[in-house]
């Protein structure tokens, strides 16, 4: 890329010069200032881009509407402030109302349901306990006299003796089962 004073600048150096001449080496800068050919190439490219800018500017249509700044900005912020304030108040009101009503309803419902469930469970458990203690109805207990009996385990063993395992196995082997 290093150029001697008498060799022309290449395309890359011309682009560099277009962007910022100080990007060139001092020898390149020196050449550019003295060489009419390189200067013409650079100026030609610069002229093209300047013309492109001018043509683009010429072809931009004129704006049709007046710009409204303060009204729009003011209106927007005022409208935004009012709307958001009203929306916040409304939402707050609904939230408080709904929350308090639903909480009340929920709490009252909850206690009612809990109480009724406890009550029905109590009734059920009383019936179950009664059935465990006295499997027969009261009049049948009276007939069977079971209501007065208080059998202990010794009595039950006496009435229904437990089966001796050894005797039972012998009896099974012999093919006789006797009680």
């Amino acid at each position: 890329m290093n150029k001697s004073n008498d060799s022309h600048l290449n395309k890359e150096q011309i682009y560099k010069a277009m962007i910022d001449e100080s990007e060139l080496l001092s020898s390149e800068r020196e050449h550019l200032s003295g060489c009419s050919e390189c200067r013409a190439e650079l100026e030609d490219f610069e002229k093209d881009l300047k013309l492109l800018g001018q043509t683009a500017e010429r072809f931009v249509p004129l704006p049709k509407n007046r710009m409204v700044l303060h009204e729009k900005a003011g209106k927007n912020s005022l409208f935004g402030w009012r709307t958001s304030f009203a929306a916040a108040i409304t939402i707050l009101f609904f939230v408080i109302t709904m929350h308090s009503d639903s909480m009340k309803l929920l709490l009252s419902n909850k206690t009612d349901v809990a109480n009724s469930e406890l009550y029905s469970e109590d009734i059920l458990m009383t019936e179950v306990n009664n059935l465990v203690e006295n499997s027969l109805p009261a009049k049948h207990l009276f007939i069977s006299r079971e209501e007065d009996t208080d059998y202990d385990e010794d009595f039950i063993d006496f009435v229904v003796p437990s089966v001796d395992d050894e005797l039972l196995s012998v009896a099974v082997k012999g093919g006789n089962v006797s009680c």
Partner: protein, 211 residues
């Protein structure tokens, strides 16, 4: 209410810069008239900058208005008023990009495409009525070729090229507007120039559209 009028401010670059600083300071102090003058001063520059990128007059007006509304809202946050133009262009670049994203999104889902085409036709018709049918055809042809040239560049190459050679911003201003360092700007500009110069498309475009 503003009526864009470029001729109203025939300032040179330095005058315009000092005028901008004074107006911006007054606008931040709450002077709405100063802000109106500042908007008038830059309206045409910004409107054209937007038009080069989206090539629809109606959309360019809307986007330009959005840009100035954002400027109005945020000018108090600008620390150095001498950087106003770069700051304005950074807002404009972002707004245009947002607009292009939205447009791509809506056209992808086919929303408003009919309405857009209709309004664009109306816009072109009005432009044609203003300048004559031949001028209208030349104009349309120019923008088609202009778009074809830019489409060969990457997003950053395109943006840097437009800012430098069409919007006439300096390297430093581009660097501030795009929040990229100067060497990155120069690299992208170099690549853009190489692509544009090598295929001779600019010369061809100018040959066809010279009066």
């Amino acid at each position: 209410m503003h009526l864009p009028n470029q001729e109203k401010y025939p300032y040179s670059g330095q005058d315009r810069k000092s005028q901008t600083v004074i107006l911006a300071e007054m606008a931040v102090a709450g002077n709405t008239n100063a802000f109106d003058q500042l908007a008038d001063l830059y309206y045409n520059t910004v409107y054209k900058m937007v038009y080069y990128r989206i090539r629809s007059g109606m959309d360019a007006e809307d986007v330009t208005q959005d840009i100035f509304i954002q400027v109005l809202k945020n000018i108090k946050n600008l620390k150095d008023f001498s950087l106003f133009k770069s700051w304005l262009f950074s807002i404009a670049v972002n707004k245009v990009r947002d607009f292009q994203r939205k447009k791509r999104f809506t056209s992808f889902f086919g929303v408003f495409s009919g309405k857009d085409a209709e309004s664009e036709q109306e816009n072109e018709h009005e432009a044609g009525a203003e300048s004559g049918p031949l001028e209208s055809v030349i104009r349309q042809n120019f923008w088609k070729q202009f778009e074809a040239i830019l489409n060969r560049l990457s997003y950053l190459e395109k943006e840097v090229f437009l800012l430098r050679f069409i919007d006439q911003l300096g390297i430093k201003e581009i660097s501030t507007a795009l929040k990229k360092n100067e060497s990155t700007v120069k690299t992208h500009l170099y690549r853009a120039l190489k692509k544009i110069r090598d295929d001779g498309s600019v010369k061809e475009l100018l040959k066809e559209n010279m009066p």
